[in-house]
Amino acid sequence: MKYENYIKLEFPSNSCNEAMARSAAGVFAAQMDPTMEELGDIKTAVSEAVTNCIVHAYPDCIGKILMRCRILEGNKLEIVIRDWGKGIEDIEQARAPLFSTGSQERSGMGFTIMESFMDKMTIRSRPGEGTTVVLSRTLPRRGRSR
């Protein structure tokens, strides 16, 4: 697929990297001239996906997380967040609002928020091998010359 620009970021699953990852995605997306609301949506979705890697994929170890952001044809932002952790048994069930395997510190709303803040969310996962979440959102071109 033709792309206009991309970044790839690899980092360990320390919780201090949640803010780093969403800020990096926000800085990358800024070149697409988003509104404040679009930028907030993108950062929130990234924060959810990265937190899931930290909390669920690697519950009792530090593992590797990869984030790739690309601008595709038609001003479409695509963000891939991947881990090599625990994986998800039943993806349909995991996507359902309020479903959570976590403690009472979780509300089971992460995937619901990602889905409603982005145009599209796809999840690929295999137990024991890891999870890949792909988020995409097309932003209107606001006629800024680049």
Binding site: T44, V55, M109
Partner: protein, 109 residues
């Protein structure tokens, strides 16, 4: 996350400043719970205008704060969320579980 508490006219105000994600959630909840336990308020308000970011980790914090105030017979409201926080509150349906108030002249949705 920085928390400041203030009691006035029967309300315990807890002013939140910073970003509330999973990284900050534990400390934030501890701070809120200890304020609630200390003042046992009839009414408690989480003042959110200084909260520049919140994700689903914040939802759990809000719902646990509501329960904590409730055990002492009090109630919880959310005050002046920023547009980003407001979007998370509505997308998750928390705005239907905890009243949200945006005061005149404060950041509108």
């Amino acid at each position: 996350m920085e928390l400041k508490t203030e009691c006035s006219s029967g309300y315990l105000f807890i002013r939140m400043k910073g970003e509330l994600d999973h990284h900050a959630a534990k400390m934030t909840l501890q701070g809120i719970e200890s304020a609630i336990d200390r003042f046992l308020p009839r009414h408690c308000a989480l003042e959110m205008s200084g909260l520049s970011f919140m994700d689903s980790s914040g939802i759990a914090v809000i719902l646990r704060a509501k329960r904590r105030v409730g055990t002492g017979g009090g109630d919880l409201i959310l005050l002046d969320p920023s547009p980003q926080v407001w979007r998370v509150l509505t997308a998750s349906g928390v705005d239907r579980l905890v009243p949200v108030k945006i005061r005149e002249g404060r950041i509108a949705k």
